[in-house]
Symmetry: C2
Subunit: 407 residues, 2 copies
DNA sequence: AACACTTTTTAAAAATTTTTATTAAGTTTT
DNA sequence: AAAACTTAATAAAAATTTTTAAAAAGTGTT
């Protein structure tokens, strides 16, 4: 698969026609990667080249074992077309999801199946360079163990928290270095293209490629955990802003003279509409002697985290339900703003707090009815994510394919 | 210029190669239209076709009088290239800017010069179908008077207030008709392609094509008049949202338990950060006996409109300056939210209220320092528009070219 | 001012792509 | 179940584009 990963240096020596052919090859592989098995006719139409041209490249890819015949397609009266699909093992992508407390690592094939052990390693994220090597060592051993051909590994996708400029490969919050960027340091270790992206954006990409946002044009993805993360698909692309920092929804000023946020500013959305706010409300309520199973849980030594409150609500705890409603209403206010600004067709809610499902959705809808223009509000559907906890690492993998197949 | 305006029907009869050639022709015209005179080599590189191919099409366009040689370009040691530019009069675009009180109409050539009388007609915008015919009659007479060849008129661009779906050509606020859309009705009259767009978006497009946003990738354009209009350039394109309603910045909920807005909701940004808010604050102040030249002006029978207050401020009236500062600070809060969500490289302020220049900018900057993350805030420049009152009609014209030259 | 070096333009040759035609393989209708 | 109709794949012919080469037109330096 060298035609996929080492273009920039070698491409310069190619003539114009060779470049074009090379491009067409990549576009076919890309098309099959993202859309599954297709017929020559379909590829020809989509890629705007004649069938003989496509046919000759297909034969080439066939002999290179990049693609295989995968049965026949349907016909509405006429010969049935051969379907060509990517081989499962033409290339692999290494995904790394660095969280605050855990780092996940796995290798995926072209069908997005994990073909290795799935590492789930406790690792406290801190700004210490030794972490980079620790993660590399884990990944490296994983590759060895998996027994896959290293030449078939085409790239590494990493997602993590922080203010990240994906284009430059810099994380301004962790491991900051303007020259020897984080991406570069990993590239030096892996000797492979490495792409770094902020976790919210990774999840958003995952929703777009494999989740509810598939096929949509303008979608917002909210992740409600301790804070509120926002990622945006705009015009069928992940929108990063001019320096990669777009989507700082958690810290927009929405409350007048509000509480001090951990970011140092006052009245951020996060102070009233997040897991943080939920825990604060719970503590305040219990302090005031509100009747709730939460008090018992705390006495049993359980920590008060958003998850605990969500579980209490799902077990019917009225107090928990009421504070979720409060948080939901405030979040709804924020979403109302988003709807008016972006006019998205879909808003996806994910994260721990979103597991409260209807307890969260109902107050959000209420707030939307209050705070947004009906004509606009009706254009946006709101759904709860179905991607689960592996959304991040899938997004990291998606990033690699997006970048490898770039135009 | 029929190859520019009547494609869809006739294109179907063309073979694939003819289509491709046709497309290349259009792309060359488009390139020259948007970027001015260029050499064959530049066109070849930009459009990724070989020089002989481009050369043959250039000769064809030359003999059709679509383009002309326009002197020679510079060389860094070598023969100097011939520059080819579009003829001034290959085609014309009719622009119509429908405001609440005035409608402007003019015809523009490829150099964006007005080649007709510039109609500035008092016309109260109301939901009355007779208006459509009135506007058509005015435009029609203008075309006659101008003496230009009707065959060279390639389209009509209209901008106006309201909730507009530009793709469908429907204005949901005025002249609403799902079937017989507004665009269609004008098309039936003009017998030309007609494009309708919301005024904020038209201004934004004008800034992008001919104003401060030229060459930027992600820019927000705010228009502060009675309300606050927002238009967005995202990834070098006008962003309209999934149904064309994006950018309703004026009515995002930013004030808790705030005033009732004219839109029916409570606490909209518009109630505290707009010309409307400015006038309200002025009235309240004068009522409370605040010392100001504004009281005198009112006694003289002048109407209290934003313009009056801005003028007072620019003449040094301290009260006017103070209320502009108040409005500016609130607007700044809203802009802080925009910066965090969009991370734009540029924000352009236009409209009557923006004419207060530094009196408005300073409090905005203050609010930004308060309410946005420094790392993000520093990525966005804020500038006052230089386009003046014709921004709208220029944007309407730009829309036509954008659409005519679509991919 | 002549020579060496660049870059554009034109022309002819080479290569590639598209078109057209033909054969193969299925579907649907009678 | 056969005939008529569709659609796919393949092959040869036609057309177009790109490449290569050479001439034309400048620029800059010795």
């Amino acid at each position: 698969m060298n035609f996929l990963i080492e273009p920039k240096n070698r491409l310069k020596t190619l003539s114009n026609v060779e470049k074009k052919k090379h491009l067409l090859k990549r576009r076919i592989v890309r098309y099959l990667y993202f859309h599954g098995p297709k017929s020559a006719a379909e590829i020809s139409k989509k890629l705007k080249s004649s069938i003989p041209t496509i046919s000759s490249i297909i034969n080439e890819l066939l002999s290179l074992d990049v693609i295989i015949e995968q049965g026949q397609g349907n016909s509405s009266g006429g010969r049935r077309p051969n379907l060509y699909g990517l081989q499962d093992d033409v290339f692999y992508i290494l995904g790394i999801d660095i969280g605050w407390f855990t780092t996940k690592i796995a290798i995926f094939n072209t069908k997005l199946e994990s073909v290795s052990e799935f590492i789930n390693h406790p690792l406290l994220l801190k700004d210490d360079n030794r972490l980079i090597h620790e993660i590399y060592d884990l990944a490296n051993k994983l590759i060895d163990k998996s027994g896959i051909d290293r030449n078939k590994l085409i790239g590494v996708g990493i997602d993590m928290p922080g203010l990240i400029d994906a284009e430059k490969g810099i994380n301004y919050t962790y491991f900051y270095d303007e020259e020897n960027t984080l991406a570069k340091r990993f590239e030096d270790l892996f000797e492979l293209p490495v792409f770094i992206e902020n976790d919210a954006n990774a999840r958003t990409l995952a929703e777009y490629r494999y989740g509810l946002a598939k096929g949509t044009k303008n979608t917002l993805v909210l992740h409600v955990g301790w804070g509120v993360g926002l990622g945006m698909i705009i015009n069928k692309e992940l929108y990063r802003g001019s320096s990669g920092f777009a989507g700082e929804f958690s810290h927009i000023p929405l409350v007048e003279n509000g509480l001090l946020c951990k970011c140092g500013k006052q009245g951020c959305l996060e102070t009233v509409a997040s897991g943080t706010a939920l825990v604060r409300l719970a503590k305040e309520g219990i302090h005031q002697g509100k009747h709730s199973t939460l008090s018992e849980k705390i006495e049993k030594g359980q920590e008060l985290i958003p998850k605990t409150i969500i579980e209490a609500a799902n077990e019917g705890d009225q107090f928990a339900i009421s504070i979720i409603a409060k948080v939901g209403f405030e979040l709804g206010k924020g979403i109302a703003a988003l709807i008016q600004l972006f006019n998205p067709e879909l808003i996806i809610l994910g994260g721990r707090v979103a597991e409260a499902n209807q307890y969260l959705l109902t107050p959000i809808e209420q707030a939307l009815n209050h705070y947004s223009i009906p004509k606009l509000r009706n254009q946006s559907k709101i759904k709860i994510s179905k991607l689960g906890t592996n959304a991040n690492i899938l997004g990291a993998v998606a990033m690699v394919s997006e970048n490898i197949f770039e135009k």
